[in-house]
């Protein structure tokens, strides 16, 4: 797979950055505007999918190979779990304790700013990592299996 024509390659090398940035924006502003971790993660994954479609599989193998995507997937999930557990360290003995909001941000009335809502942006980031990596992995795994070829090792 060598990818598509030079036009597609040129355009997508510009577009991919915009898509990636848009994904980061959607993730970071998830607690203020529509969007959030899942939507942002899907957009992040789609930038890599565009890369794979335009440039062929070899380029993605160098940038985000399957094993790295798998690790990122696990890290995202563990990060989300860790955020929910960290509340135990901050005095409250329950899950999903929004410790940042309760301890530090509650004094400053900062609704509708980027730094607000405590742990929610962090969770959004973890979810975006998880969703982006796993969606890209689904795409990669499904696209590398060719019907008709004999079954191959994973």
């Amino acid at each position: 797979m060598n990818g598509m024509t030079i036009i597609v390659k040129n355009i997508s090398s510009w577009i991919k950055i915009l898509i990636f940035l848009f994904g980061i924006y959607i993730t970071l502003f998830g607690h203020l505007t529509p969007g959030g971790g899942f939507a942002g993660g899907v957009i992040l994954a789609s930038s890599y999918i565009l890369l794979t479609l335009a440039f062929g599989k070899r380029v993605t193998d160098e940038n985000l190979p399957l094993w790295l995507a798998s690790r990122l997937d696990c890290i995202g999930a563990l990060l989300f779990l860790a955020i929910s557990l960290v509340g135990f360290l901050f005095g409250a003995s329950f899950f999903f304790y929004n410790f940042i909001q309760q301890k530090y941000l509650a004094q400053h009335a900062s609704d509708f700013h980027l730094v607000s809502a405590g742990t929610i942006p962090l969770s959004n980031f973890a979810i975006a990592l998880k969703v982006g990596a796993s969606l890209f992995m689904v795409f990669l795994v499904l696209s590398t299996f060719r019907p008709g070829e004999p079954a191959q090792q994973e």
């Binding site: 690790r71 997937d73 696990c74 779990l81 557990l85 409250a92 329950f94 304790y97 079954a151 994973e154």
Partner: protein, 512 residues
């Protein structure tokens, strides 16, 4: 020691995501982590016996937040899940040596346990659906784990019917949300008691019944089970037959029917519902067992017996519901429900033991067709002993656990005035005995075929797991006979089912 309830979900989930980080190289570490997790969950579930608790996640009060509810029924299922999954995990150490992709297997196994613990603990309907899907998707992947012809076909069949069942359940959840404006089971239950519209309620109930019966593989919906359960690796078959169909099917059915909709003499559909449950139970019992007798594949035979034995559980619960709906004595209803629930945990133990022995035979001989086997009694003494114990238990021979629960169901049927139900129960038990005599005859007795001369017993972790479950089979009758054990383990579960819609009041009171 008071264990926060989300740990039952969080610990296996964390372990499931830690394991793929190591990759395939470090088998011993992965196995140690997975087994440690299971042992921890086992300890936790023992510690949380006899506790009534409602956990508000993030301390958002219900009905706005998500809550986890631990009551008698949840404790019983939690304990069963952890016992069976612990034994299967120990068994996997040795059994999985011939498979590649160990860390994927362990990860999916742990995800399945996460889903089942979540289903058992969840206090609102949508989370019930989410955890149910987590457990189901993990199990679809595990059924197709071998990636051979039969396994893929079985996995596809299972996945199609499982997804259809999930959609039925989600449709029911959506309808209930539309009618009541709540998802929390306690509030839904309260709102339904004052509901004026009768038809949509019954329609939602029908959706739930169809979905959960598909998940539990009761007879008109059983087509996937005999393919899916034998195709999986043996410890997974033990998990699927032992606990998965019970938590996703029977537990959820009982929870929704008794605690959310409520069975009572005032509601005129209660009697029809109980007869429906009894019919499903009897059909499953009879058809499952007669299909089982003719099988020559050992695991397939066991899978058909799972259908038949689930019929016993549903029959016991259905008789209980009938007695309640007719306004009868709660003592007899309690007896029937006790029989059903006790048979549920007994079946979890002996059926998982039977699947583990089938895995042991398969590992030793390379075949699970009864016609290819023979004379294994001397070659595999431990497997033979444990298999005999489990067969005796499933056929209902006295000192073993299956006898006690079947006895309770028969007694309840007689006292409820349906002698023919008792007769059918005994008859099915007899046919079960015949089919297991066939297993004993063809697998363990008779002449040894030439290609089985060099067969050796599987030592190590496999024998430990089988021995553990066999001891449980022998000793579990004591749960019924020793009053202390009965009052701590079985009675709270029966009371949860019997009290029905009091569940709502209890949950709301506990969450304050």
């Amino acid at each position: 020691m008071k264990i926060p309830l989300p740990w039952f979900v969080a610990i296996p989930l964390a372990a499931a995501f830690v394991l793929p980080m190591f990759g395939e190289k470090v088998r011993k570490t992965s196995l140690a982590i997975a087994n440690g997790t299971m042992a921890l969950l086992f300890l936790f579930s023992i510690f949380s016996l006899g506790r009534q608790d409602v956990y508000l996640v993030g301390r958002w009060t219900i009905p706005f937040g998500i809550n986890l509810v631990l009551d008698g029924l949840s404790e019983l299922l939690l304990l069963t899940v952890s016992v069976v999954s612990f034994a299967s995990m120990v068994f996997s150490i040795r059994y999985m040596q011939r498979y590649t992709g160990l860390s994927k297997y362990l990860s999916l196994f742990l995800l399945m346990v996460t889903g089942m613990n979540g289903v058992v603990l969840s206090g609102d309907l949508f989370n019930l659906f989410v955890f149910l899907e987590i457990a189901s998707i993990a199990s679809y992947a595990l059924v197709g784990f071998g990636c051979e012809h039969e396994e893929l076909e079985a996995s596809f069949k299972y996945m199609v019917l499982g997804s259809v069942a999930s959609m039925f359940i989600l449709f029911g959840v959506a309808m209930l949300y539309g009618m009541t404006g709540h998802l929390n089971m306690a509030y839904v239950s309260q709102a339904l008691q004052g509901a004026s519209l009768r038809l949509p309620v019954v329609f939602a109930l029908a959706m739930f019944l169809a979905g959960f019966s598909l998940k539990a593989a009761l007879v008109p919906f059983h087509a996937w089970l005999p393919d899916a359960h034998p195709a999986a690796p043996a410890p997974i078959s033990a998990m699927l037959s032992g606990v998965l169909i019970k938590t996703l099917g029977i537990y959820a059915l009982v929870r929704v029917v008794f605690n959310v909709f409520g069975v009572s003499p005032e509601q005129d559909w209660s009697i029809h519902l109980s007869w429906l449950l009894i019919t499903l139970g009897v059909l499953s019992m009879v058809i499952g067992v007669f299909l089982a007798v003719g099988q020559w594949d050992f695991k397939r035979l066991l899978a058909y017996h799972s259908i038949s034995q689930m019929g016993y559980v549903v029959l016991g619960i259905g008789i209980g519901a009938l007695v309640i709906a007719q306004g009868g004595s709660h003592t007899w209803a309690a007896l029937a429900i006790l029989g059903g629930l006790f048979h549920l945990i007994n079946h979890a133990v002996f059926k998982s033991l039977l699947f583990l022995t089938s895995g042991s035979i398969e590992t030793a001989t390379g075949s699970r067709l009864l016609k290819d086997l023979g004379g294994l009694a001397e070659k595999l003494p431990l497997t033979r002993t444990t298999c005999t114990i489990a067969s005796a238990a499933i056929a209902g021979i006295p000192p073993f656990n299956g006898f006690w629960s079947k006895l309770l169901i028969v007694l309840a049927a007689v006292w409820a005035g349906h002698v023919w139900l008792a007769a059918v129960t005994v008859l099915v038990s007899l046919v079960t005995l015949i089919s297991f005599l066939k297993v004993q005859r063809y697998a363990f007795l008779g002449n040894t075929p030439a290609h089985l001369d060099s067969v050796k017993e599987n030592g190590g972790s496999m024998s430990w797991a089988m021995g553990f479950l066999a001891c449980l089979c022998v000793l579990m009758g004591l749960l019924l006979l020793i009053p202390d054990l009965k009052t701590t383990i079985l009675d709270p579960a029966v009371n949860t089912v019997l009290n029905g819609i009091q569940y709502a009041g209890d949950t709301i009171a506990n969450s304050r």
